[in-house]
């Protein structure tokens, strides 16, 4: 711990005391912020983990269907079937403020509400497995959007928690002890000065009395 490089004056002392008070307050606030962020982060991580497992399983499922479809259909036919989609999805991006971390909120908007619009091909020349693949992907898609949202939120919150944690630690272990030590140093220095003034005054008084009245 290092004492700050300041002049030991009363003005510095009162300024430092004010700084110490606000540092302590800031420390308490940041600590609360860190705890609350951490609590929400843990909830999100739990959901994120569950969602990811679900999405990964569903995509693996769709890939299996796709592999079968690819084996019974010619590649060109498969690509042609999916080349011109009827359905179109756009994403509306909102914003949510979680403990001053701005996390995006995604809302998918489909061109049409018809659930069958995902099949962009006639059923005559395509394998039924292609339907299975497209169907399982479309079922999991809302969860995929939620996964994107929550994964982004987790990343942003992890950043913020790290920053807050560093700030809390810096205040707790460096700034506040430094202020305390400097305040102690100035108080000691000032009282030392005061004692020295008192003693010299007493001495002078003695000398003056002795000179004028021959007082012993």
């Amino acid at each position: 711990m290092a004492r700050l490089n300041v002049n030991p004056t009363r003005m510095e002392l009162s300024q430092l005391k004010k700084k110490l008070v606000s540092a302590r307050r800031g420390h308490k606030l940041l600590k609360d912020k860190r705890d609350e962020l951490m609590r929400q982060f843990m909830d999100m991580i739990k959901e994120n983990r569950k969602l990811r497992a679900e999405v990964e399983a569903a995509i693996a499922d769709a890939d299996r269907y796709m592999a079968v479809a690819g084996s019974v259909m010619q590649r060109e036919v498969l690509e042609t079937a999916l080349m011109l989609p009827k359905q179109e999805v756009e994403i509306e991006v909102g914003e949510k403020n979680v403990m001053s971390v701005y996390i995006p909120v995604f809302q998918p908007k489909y061109r049409t509400d018809d659930a069958n619009e995902i099949y962009s091909y006639g059923t005559a020349f395509t394998s039924i497995d292609l339907d299975g693949a497209v169907n399982s992907l479309s079922k999991i898609f809302p969860k995929m959007i939620r996964l994107a949202e929550i994964e982004k939120a987790c990343q942003l919150m992890a950043d913020e928690i790290e920053k807050t944690r560093r700030r809390v630690n810096a205040l707790e272990h460096i700034m506040i002890p430094d202020y305390e030590e400097t305040i102690k140093y100035i108080t000691m220095k000032l009282s030392e000065n005061e004692r020295s003034t008192t003693t010299s005054l007493m001495k002078v008084k003695d000398m003056v009395l002795k000179q004028s009245h021959n007082f012993q």
Binding site: M38, A60, K86, P104, S138, L156, D159
Partner: protein, 103 residues
């Protein structure tokens, strides 16, 4: 209004075309990096990328990790799940908590 994109090898991502997502079939690392940068500066809010494709453009993806948009999400490819997607989750926990407490 934003759009969603899928990047990966053709077999793994073709199915998403039917849902109305923009599909980009790319297997070359440099091209993937350029593509991500282009999509991110465009109006794409969500980019799904297969794990093998993401492994080729790791630095570009990590660049967008702390920005608000786009959200880049790893999905398993046809070859199977490499666990990279879960790993990024563990990384986030490690960053926030200081140690990986999920295991």
């Amino acid at each position: 209004m934003y759009k969603a994109a899928v990047i990966g090898d053709s077999a793994g991502v073709l199915g998403f075309a039917a849902l109305g997502l923009s599909v980009f079939c790319e297997t070359d690392g440099e091209k993937i990096k350029k593509l991500i940068t282009r999509l991110a500066s465009g109006d794409f809010a969500v980019i799904y990328i297969t794990e093998p494709a993401a492994a080729l453009a790791e630095d570009t993806i990590s660049k967008y990790r702390s920005s608000r948009l786009p959200a880049i999400v790893l999905i398993p490819a046809v070859e199977g799940n490499t666990g990279d997607g879960m790993r990024s989750l563990h990384e986030a926990v490690e960053k926030a908590v200081g140690s990986d407490i999920l295991n």
